[in-house]
Symmetry: C2
Subunit: 429 residues, 2 copies
């Protein structure tokens, strides 16, 4: 390949991200050529609806058939921005088998099928870049793969879903309920009409599966990630959190342990002194702990057309530099057979909030359960007698214990006669 | 070069960082081979004092002559950890001319001579890696060079000197003076016996010169960086800062403007809502603004043997992967002739603290000067009459104005008869 070659780029998907990527490729061509060492020529764009007006994409490039992108011999790099599991996964596999390099922003495919696709790419001697799949423009994959490669990585703790972070910040700030904040977020465009993927934690779990796989060289399937969303968090919990010195965040965390990799997504009380406690709005932040580097925090906008385009084009530039040097599959990924530890066995801490009958002997009953489950108490608050009822609110945070013991404790307490309800159960960092 | 080659590594310098790097290379050999795709074999270590006991370096590798490292045909990569300008610069040049790849943690050399060395490396077809020269283990150079390459970078704002950040945090927390905190920091090992490079801002200026050069593709020499240290910051300034909603930080910032690159290091009032305001202790943090990515924050330990080793070995792994693929000088650096804007012409905001005679007409005199210099006022506080004197403390923050006008204002106010002193002059972010 000559030194100032043109590389053919094909796009699958021209929604908001695809249009932004096309625009940067077309309007920034000279600067990109200089940075990449080769021209990045947009040659074909596959879209679902050929009839739609797309002012930023030249109409002669459009096709309704993604195979016309994948199979075009003039296309060296396939950029997949369609999203969703199928047919995107099949397109990526087909592109790799056709010995095309691939850049994708598809977290669903990379989370569920990343290891196979990366290994296939190794066999076919092509590269798969996916910086845009996690954390928008925040440089995460390259940090794990290159910059921190000298480390034994120990733990990754992340706020990696902007929608839920925005919602929890709003709940903390103005005391609204989940339902109110969700309705607002949907109206303001921060949450989708079907918010399930965000508010139930699946989006964060997919991104965590990708990060854990790369950070620990383990195959962590999103189904193996323990996943609990934010629907159950109530306004009063933010008041107690503040009083106890915590913020409430939807935390995605993965850790290397002697028994395997732990990977979980759930609401979490984060000490106010922790850098992740102050990450607000639609920001994402990833806190990485390694044996040499200590702690590194990477923070930025986790989504949006422009940050995602930053990552996609950054990948294209890096790929072009490698291709220019006739390098293919520059640093293969390898995945060891490391078990994912079941949530039952993960050591966590928890915050319990219960409504209890306000009469003698109740606390003794509750603390007996904690004792029998060998869960020790870190702090306890009793207050807020509800009007007209002889009941009180009782809040406990625990020391670390196996998650199974904490959940058993929760069930056993809820079943005690003087306990009206265990209204909240939130892990504590 | 065969697929599982051994690469010969030579070290110049075996102080705390060098010993840690040697230790990682020796004790982590199988893991590093796997990650790098080649063995990284430590073959020679040049030290200043052969007589010193070095439990982590095999004695047969030691030499007192750096040229025995550089000229050894069995050494492919020279790792320079000696520090200081000369002879380190000459060693690096000699290594590059001998077509050795180079990894360095030397911020002084890279700041003052980085562009020449990088261009020479391009001619000689070898690579120079220097992630460890700025921000310890925080992945900065690679972020500028690769991950954000799709962006027009607009601004870099950084807390990049751990010693001064630690000192300013201590002054903010307990009201101590600069002299008290410096003495403590020296006793605790956070400041050197000769603290000049840190407290006068030169260390931060060198690191900023490196970041600005890479971020903007401009030759920014550390001498061209406006540089003001923290000696003049007084305890009372932290009280006013808090009252006005600011933290005081030693800020290193560089910005692309139509007239060239602005680059400056000085104490700065940072709004408490800014992510850099909460960076405390010996942490470093770099806030990068790009046209696509928006804002990215990278934070971690900016110094120390282990974080620096993380960066050095990360560079070695990346370099080894490239060498394995017979790639040399994978992504050459280029530097345009972009002017550095003189501080006089930089637009800033300022905080003035003056002691004035407590009598009618004084403020009118002061505000007349501001008006004549076309500096408009953002906030003003007058209070704290000093015991036994008819004087008051008067604090003003301004709107943006040319720095020359702000400094002229300062001088003219100090010369007014009723003004006892302009006790503080600190820029405002």
């Amino acid at each position: 390949m000559a030194a100032a070659a043109e590389l053919g780029v094909g796009l699958i998907g021209a929604g908001t991200v695809g249009a932004e990527v096309a625009d940067r490729l077309l309007t920034w061509a000279p600067a990109l050529r200089r940075r990449a060492g080769a021209g990045l020529e947009l040659r074909r764009v596959a879209v679902r609806d050929l009839g739609k007006t797309r002012p930023r994409v030249p109409p002669e490039l459009l096709t309704a058939d993604p195979h016309q992108v994948i199979d075009d011999p003039g296309i060296d790099i396939v950029v997949e921005l369609a999203g969703g599991e199928e047919p995107a996964r099949s397109w990526l596999e087909r592109a790799i088998r056709a010995r095309k390099h691939v850049v994708t922003a598809n977290k669903v495919v990379m989370a569920a099928h990343g290891p196979e696709l990366l290994e296939l790419a190794g066999e076919m001697d092509v590269d798969v870049y996916f910086e845009a799949a996690v954390g928008g423009g925040i440089p995460l994959i390259s940090t794990f793969k290159v910059d921190l490669a000298a480390n034994q990585l120990e733990r990754v703790t992340a706020i990696i879903n902007g929608t839920t972070n925005y919602m929890l910040c709003r709940m903390a700030a103005d005391g609204s309920t989940f339902a109110q904040v969700l309705a607002d977020a949907q109206r303001e465009g921060f949450a989708e009409a079907d918010p399930t993927a965000d508010v139930d934690g699946h989006d964060a779990a997919a991104k965590l599966a990708i990060m854990a796989s790369i950070a620990f060289g383990a195959r962590v399937h999103p189904r193996a990630v323990y996943c609990e969303g934010i629907r159950a968090v109530q306004p009063v919990d933010f008041r107690y959190a503040r009083e106890l010195g915590y913020a409430i965040k939807l935390m995605a965390s993965a850790e290397r342990t002697p028994r395997g990799v732990e990977a979980r997504v759930h609401p979490c009380m984060v000490p106010l002194s922790h850098p992740l406690a102050v990450v607000d709005g639609v920001h994402n932040a990833v806190f990485i702990e390694g044996d040499l580097v200590g702690e590194v925090l990477l923070q930025g906008l986790g989504a949006g057309a422009r940050p995602t385009t930053s990552a996609v084009i950054g990948d294209l530039i890096d790929l072009a530099r490698s291709i220019q040097r006739q390098v293919r599959n520059r640093a293969p990924f390898t995945f060891d057979d490391i078990a994912v530890v079941p949530m039952d066995e993960v050591t966590t801490r928890a915050y319990f909030r219960c409504r209890v009958a306000d009469r003698p002997g109740v606390l003794a009953q509750i603390f007996t359960v904690f004792g029998e489950e060998q869960v020790s108490i870190s702090s306890a608050i009793q207050k807020e007698v509800f009007e007209g009822e002889a009941s009180a609110e009782f809040v406990v945070t625990t020391h670390p214990a196996p998650d199974a013991a904490l959940r058993r404790t929760r069930q056993r307490i809820a079943a005690l006669e003087p306990v009206r309800a265990v209204s909240s159960f939130i892990r504590v960092l």
